[in-house]
Amino acid sequence: MTAAPFPANLAPVKRVSLWRRFLRRPAGVIALVVMILIVLVAVLAPWLAPYDPNLVKLRITNVGPGGDHILGGDSGGRDILSRLIYGARTTLFGAAITCVSAVLIGVPAGVCAGYFGGVTDRVLTWISDALQSIPVLLMLMIVAAGTGQSFPVLMVVLGLFMAPGYYRITRGRAQAVRKEPYIDAARVSGVTNPRILRTHMARAVYPPIVVQSALTAGLAIGMQAGLQFLGIGSAQTPSWGQMISNGMLVINTHGLILLWPSIALGLTIASLAFIGTTLADLISIRVEQPTRRMRLRARQELAKAPASAELPDRVASGTHAHEVADCALRIDNLRVGYPSPAGVKEVVRGVSLDAGPGEVLGIVGESGSGKTQTMFAVLGLLPIGGTAVSDGIHVNGKEVGGLPALERAALLGRSIGYVPQEPMTNLDPSYTIERQLVEPLRQVQGMSKAAAKARAREVLVRVGITDVDRVLRSYPHQISGGMAQRVLIAGAVSGRPSLLVADEPTTALDVTVQAEVLELLRELQQEYGMALVIVTHNFGVVADICDRLVVMKDGRIVETGAVEQIFRSPADPYTAELISASLDDADGRVELDKAHVGGEDGAR
């Protein structure tokens, strides 16, 4: 264990703190600075305000900005700037009360619901949903009717209504943490529930709570101003909402009086919102939408002049076995990359391969070797941001890599069929199987409704489904995984393609079903005379049905050849490693361990 060398060629994972990443976002920084200034103004109000906010001087009634009173006086003869400054105090104090009470109510409830589940969860979730479905303002007005319009009480009540936001977050996190094996380990070793919750929950929940608090504070401030606008709250406490309400009365003659508190309010809420959304962007795993410039740059980087002695990476890897004109599929020097902050991340780095008509080609490699990406590039269906460049992609002897997207897409469902890996997520959950089989037949093959239905039944029967009528009527969640995979295969071959690409078609299935599905693919391939390109990490699959084999590692091909030859004498140590890893006998395991450590030393 201790002897295993730490892989040196892996870039060290950069753990830049959330805080530092936040400071790199201009919108976030500006908003944070504005927010800090507002907080300072609120805290230092007694020293900053030039006048008593409630001091009435009739002389300055509705007077515009300038002179002793920088922003002038309001319609009650009071200094606007002083009232604004004290208003910040009222506003932030109220928002703080709301956030604190929402956290104090929502977080413990969420933790309990998520961690203990069952009845606790159901009851608390019902209450949370109920709180969210009642209009807050109505409830606040009812409370305000009795509490002598005490603002702190109102803000606590508002906090109660804001608690579901926190509840949802913590409940979700607690559920996720509860499923972690280390929690079970902790319980078994006698750690008490409260301690588990304290040590393991706090960290997981902290960032989303900060985001939620920024948004809650923004909402609370808006709601508070709305209440003040409605005339709730003491007239002696200067507040922005009250100032807006006063300003509205004289809007036609003295519009500025309305403007100042509106700016203060808008600025405060907007900076909270920007802080919140920036943080949310940073902690979410959502895929960033690459801009057009990023995509263009990725393409240029990928296409950079190939082939030089210093850059062996830029030379294509892999060999061809057939003439271009004889190929069902031929790829020349394919590169696939994704835009990243550091330029472009290449996941396929110069791959060349081919498959003749009626040939079964296996692409083998561990996860992350680029085999699936290679296949998506062939289909022209790379995930968002993915860019492919190549010296040529030929389908049935025709160059298609350079075709415009629309013509490229026209190959799908006609010349190329695709069988995905995970059957349950590859059917549209909202439509029946019949609809999903018939729709492409009608649109792509131009069949009549009756003909398409007949073909769909015929193909389903062919892929071995016995109760065709029930399956046709079913929605995807009503059928089993093996059944779904058969449906997907039926969909892929129903357009009679000459090339079928299958991405780990058996990985997600039960072992007993795996062999059947593989056998089915084999039969269909021979029956229709299709070329079959099958991506897998399983040498059993390869041995079962492949004619030729391509072994991939880190986005490049390490070996190409006939299956028997590679099994008998693999040329590359990595291939040997993969093969012995697939075999289950004990000797192989020992050898594998040796080979693995040795291979690592040798390779690096």
């Binding site: 009795g146 997520t425 959950p429």
Partner: protein
């Protein structure tokens, strides 16, 4: 499906019971003696005592609650403590105003929210998409009433296109009705439009990233057809927000009605809150919660129709 709906209905009735009971006791305990609020501070103790006897708050609280509840279940919410007209009449008089505005605002937010959401979902990262993101922050920061004031200034007083304030019943003039509710509806809807658009955009992109969309494309379906599949699957999220918006708009209407001087349930809420007019406040609460329950039930039905998994529950 049937048992699912029954369950939701029972849950709704429970919600109604809990909220109204809670409101009854909170309002009574918080307000205590409502007579100063109803009569003003100049009323003599004798006048106050007479008032207390008249509205029945001199009885034990539980008796009052039983009295209120036994009438409420028959649909009778008592009489207003201020005008001594039936609460039901007060509500019936005001409801059309608020519903007109809220309904129109919901329609506006549904139409524009969906159009903008799809447009942004189809072209994420485009200028239009960035504008939506920015607008969502700005509209979050600007309260509805502020927008209302600006809209009145601009379109009613400045350009004279719409009525600045007041409500015209559609029975008198349909055109006048539309003119009177357009600005308040827009003021209410702007925030909702952006929220629906954002929700739809995000779930559109999320669905677009799912495996089955790639498979649909791999079958050769045209972009338009694939988009239809994506939309169908992102609809539940958008519909949920739309339903939440309707309820939110009911609450937001309180402030907008004040700005536009519409005599709807919002102004009634504000006045009753200031006077401590508990029967009216309770009537308003029951009505609102009934709306919430009905809307959520409709949402469940629509979701069941859109999403086959819900049907099997």
């Amino acid at each position: 499906m049937f048992s699912f709906i029954t369950k939701r209905l029972l849950s709704g009735i429970l919600l109604l019971a809990v909220v109204t009971t809670g409101t009854f006791f909170i309002a009574h305990l918080a307000i205590g003696d409502p007579t100063p609020g109803l009569l003003g501070n100049s009323a003599t103790p004798a006048q106050q005592a007479a008032m207390r006897a008249k509205i029945g708050v001199d009885r034990p609280l539980l008796t009052q609650f039983w009295d209120w509840l036994s009438h409420a279940v028959t649909g009778d919410f008592g009489t207003s403590w201020r005008t001594f007209t039936p609460v039901n009449d007060d509500l019936a008089l005001r409801l059309p105003v608020t519903l007109s505005v809220v309904f129109f605002a919901t329609v506006l937010s549904a139409i524009f929210g969906v159009i903008i959401g799809i447009a942004c979902g189809l072209r994420p990262g485009s200028v239009f998409d960035r504008v939506l993101k920015f607008a969502s922050v700005v509209l979050f920061a600007l309260p509805g009433y502020w927008l209302g004031i600006v809209l009145v200034q601009l379109f009613a007083l400045g350009l004279g296109w719409f009525d600045a304030t007041g409500y015209v019943s559609p029975e008198i003039s349909v055109g006048g009705w539309l003119r009177s509710i357009t600005l308040p509806s827009v003021a209410l809807a702007l925030g909702a439009i952006v929220m629906i658009a954002e929700q739809l955009r995000n779930s559109f992109l999320e669905v677009n990233n799912q495996d089955f969309v790639r498979t649909l494309r791999a079958r050769g379906l045209s972009k338009r057809r694939v988009t239809r599949h994506v939309l169908r699957n992102s609809a539940p999220a958008a519909l949920t927000v739309l339903a939440m918006m309707f309820v939110g708009l009911l609450g937001g209407a309180i402030i907008v009605e004040l700005v536009f001087n519409l005599q709807g349930i919002g102004i009634l809420t504000q006045q009753s809150s200031q006077n401590g007019n508990i029967p009216v406040l309770l009537g308003l609460t029951v009505m609102t919660v009934v709306f919430v329950v009905v809307i959520n039930l409709l949402l469940d039905l629509v979701l069941g129709w859109v999403n086959p998994k819900v049907r099997d529950r």
